[in-house]
Symmetry: C2
């Protein structure tokens, strides 16, 4: 891979705008960040670069990081909405998922990747089935992903799923300089009995894998665990040892002060999915409260059957606004914090130490936003603009690990016509 | 105005999709809605039309109706965020607004209209200053609007403002077949003493004008009115007679069961601004509860200094999702109801009886959405897609009162380059 040079561009580095800057990208990393004053350096870098991008009229930011989704569920977007969770699962989603094959997961994954790249997301954390197929799509399309095989401790697939997740880890963990990482994906306490979770935890120690799990999403499941064990799901999971190798916990809507203390002590990172939690009537997670305890909270879209899109900018906006009203506090989550949640905190939630911020030595996962729209005017504060005013379709060019995956709104690694025809066929298949 | 014919298009009429339909538009109204079977009729209409639009790959819907904004406040977008309301008003907004002139309101209004047309909004209800200028921009750009001069009962402008609002009504109410209507705009109980409101109400009877007012937006103002009068703001306004000529009440976040009974009995219509209410930490209005009482609830963005954009699709999405979580009920506001709130209920809130739905005899305010994006696939349910998955930038062509104002993403009545340069100048002006 040669050197990529992006110039003539405003760069959001942390919360600071570097006007008329330039980025030098080498082997997937930002090797230099140049300012308007570095005139000679810029000229030199431009001449030796293999590829030059003119960023005129654009704003470079880190790519958004989707810390929790089931990306192939885009196949079931708008299939069934506004239902009670169990009605939705038992009568709509599960019977339809039973018809899933490798083939459909391939196209569902590609659909989600197309949608994410088009809306400025450069990395996602997924939990689903047929994950080797998902890994292949990630490898091929160039996006970054942390993959976990969804594990449910019920016959007949309980043991096979564990074997598959281990194999996924062996095959893909660390692929392409950590462009793909693998975690274990026990679905939730209510689908994984303790004996099964003990096997998952043993496997996590055996291979050195972290765990990605749904925790305390709804009131009902929390009440069930309490009535069965006398403990909250978080306390119970902690006792089982689930947090010992590192854990990404999705949702955490219904948690106690004591739960948060455990999470903070054990370094549990959280994937907050505000839109899914609203749409599925789960509630609103106590995010500023978690942040006050020092817990890392990233953002996720959840699957597009329960969102119904993979637009991370919507999650950033909701994170910034929702908690203000819940707490009657306009400073609950300021724009700068919400932006961090969508970028650097998401990176930390997925255990990347050099991702989510545009600075030298960090991974080159970058979005160039077209800032020419009326909704970008006036331009008093670009972070506020991204968080409160921008449209995800302003993402004009997207780079992951130093490679350009979308240029001027054209996807370079996905054939969108082919994708469209395959999704139409999938719709026919699942409709009968 | 000649006849416009739109064909080769899917049409959302109510909640039903008419595949491969056609619309005939005459003098600003939909005169015919043709289906796939009307082959001869379609051929005939096509040949006699003055202008033909091919809607291939698009979905025609009614335009979104923004029932509450201060549109020129787009001038102060991202100027100051995440502050306590009084800090924000007293130290950021009011000192800046004091520098407003006719000239800046003109460009601020045009900025907002550009943004609304680009995001599929065809009608807005505005409350601000220099409203004759706003009316001229509405007249010129072709959008539909209901305008009210913001009235505050404080010296030295209290009486002048009343005179201006009356003049605005005389000059513009009913303009171009009700493309512009005028209401009186008393700002809020906390800025309008009773004696002043009595003058407003007397004027409303004198000229036959309805009233547009902020009511019960924050806890604090409600508590103040109760401590001063012994009554809630709604009960107090009702006693003053504010609802007798017809009233559009913005916000209504903190209202009681008895308030809702009064509102239902008096036919008060509500402008619900979910994103502004979240961002300003005001709270969440009891919308399904109001709807259960038969109160009409439309949606609004509020001004772009407190939102920070004029994207109505975000409000539709929030209306559909927010109340589900608040009430732990996934059916609280189904997609179809949220869509109605953004369209037909918005029309009713603004007292249009023939707007907000695509059917024969209704006003031709129409958006053609490009449905080719990945987020539109698969296509199980177009109403759910609009409410939960669509992006406002999918609005490709926008028609108001039968005239095309945006075609293939190009605004036909606004010079965007000129607009941009004027907003940059305005930013310089307000920054010093």
């Amino acid at each position: 891979m040669g050197q990529l040079y992006i110039h003539n561009i405003d760069i959001l580095s942390g919360h600071t705008i570097i006007k008329d800057g330039a980025l030098v990208i080498d082997n997937g990393y930002i090797s230099r960040l140049l300012t308007a004053d570095d005139i000679q350096e810029k000229e030199k870098e431009r001449t030796i670069a293999n590829d030059v991008l003119d960023g005129h009229g654009q704003l470079a930011t880190p790519g958004l990081i989707n810390t929790h989704t089931h990306i192939a569920m885009g196949l079931f977007r708008n299939y069934a909405d506004d239902l009670e969770l169990m009605d939705w699962l038992e009568n709509a989603i599960w019977p339809t998922e039973a018809k899933l094959t490798d083939h459909y997961v391939k196209w569902g994954t590609q659909l989600g990747i197309a949608e994410m790249l088009r809306s400025g997301t450069t990395c996602f954390s997924d939990m689903y089935f047929f994950m080797d197929t998902t890994a292949q799509e990630v490898a091929k399309t160039g996006i970054r992903a942390v993959l976990s095989r969804g594990l449910a401790g019920v016959a007949p697939t309980a043991e096979t799923a564990l074997v598959e997740n281990k194999q996924l880890f062996m095959d893909w963990h660390g692929y392409d300089h950590d462009r793909i990482k693998v975690m274990l994906g026990p679905h939730a306490p209510y689908t994984c009995p303790d004996e099964y979770l003990k096997k998952v935890i043993a496997l996590s120690h055996e291979i050195g894998a972290q765990i990605h799990m749904h925790l305390s999403e709804t009131k009902g499941e929390v009440e069930n665990v309490i009535s069965q064990t006398g403990k909250t799901p978080i306390a119970h999971m902690n006792e089982l040892g689930l947090f010992d190798m590192g854990c990404l916990a999705a949702h955490c809507v219904h948690i106690t002060e004591e739960d948060m203390d455990i999470m903070a002590a054990k370094g549990v990172r959280v994937a907050h999915n505000p839109q899914s939690n609203l749409k599925l009537a789960s509630g609103i997670a106590p995010v500023p409260e978690m942040q006050d305890k020092g817990i890392i909270v990233g953002l996720g879209t959840d699957g597009s059957a329960s969102n119904n899109n993979a637009d991370m900018l919507e999650e950033v906006r909701l994170a910034a606004t929702l908690h203000k009203a819940r707490l009657y506090n306009p400073k609950a989550i300021p724009a700068s914090v919400a932006w961090n949640m969508g970028t650097i905190d998401g990176a930390k939630a997925l255990d990347y130490s050099d991702l989510g911020i545009l600075q030298e030595g960090f991974r080159a996962d970058i979005v160039l936003y077209d800032v020419s729209g009326a909704h970008w005017l006036p331009r008093y504060n670009d972070v506020a603009s991204l968080v409160y005013a921008a449209n995800s379709s302003d993402a004009n060019t997207v780079i992951v690990a130093g490679k350009i995956l979308m240029k001027d709104r054209s996807l370079l690694t996905i054939d969108e016509e082919k994708l469209r025809s395959e999704i139409i066929k999938a719709q026919e298949y699942f409709s009968h």
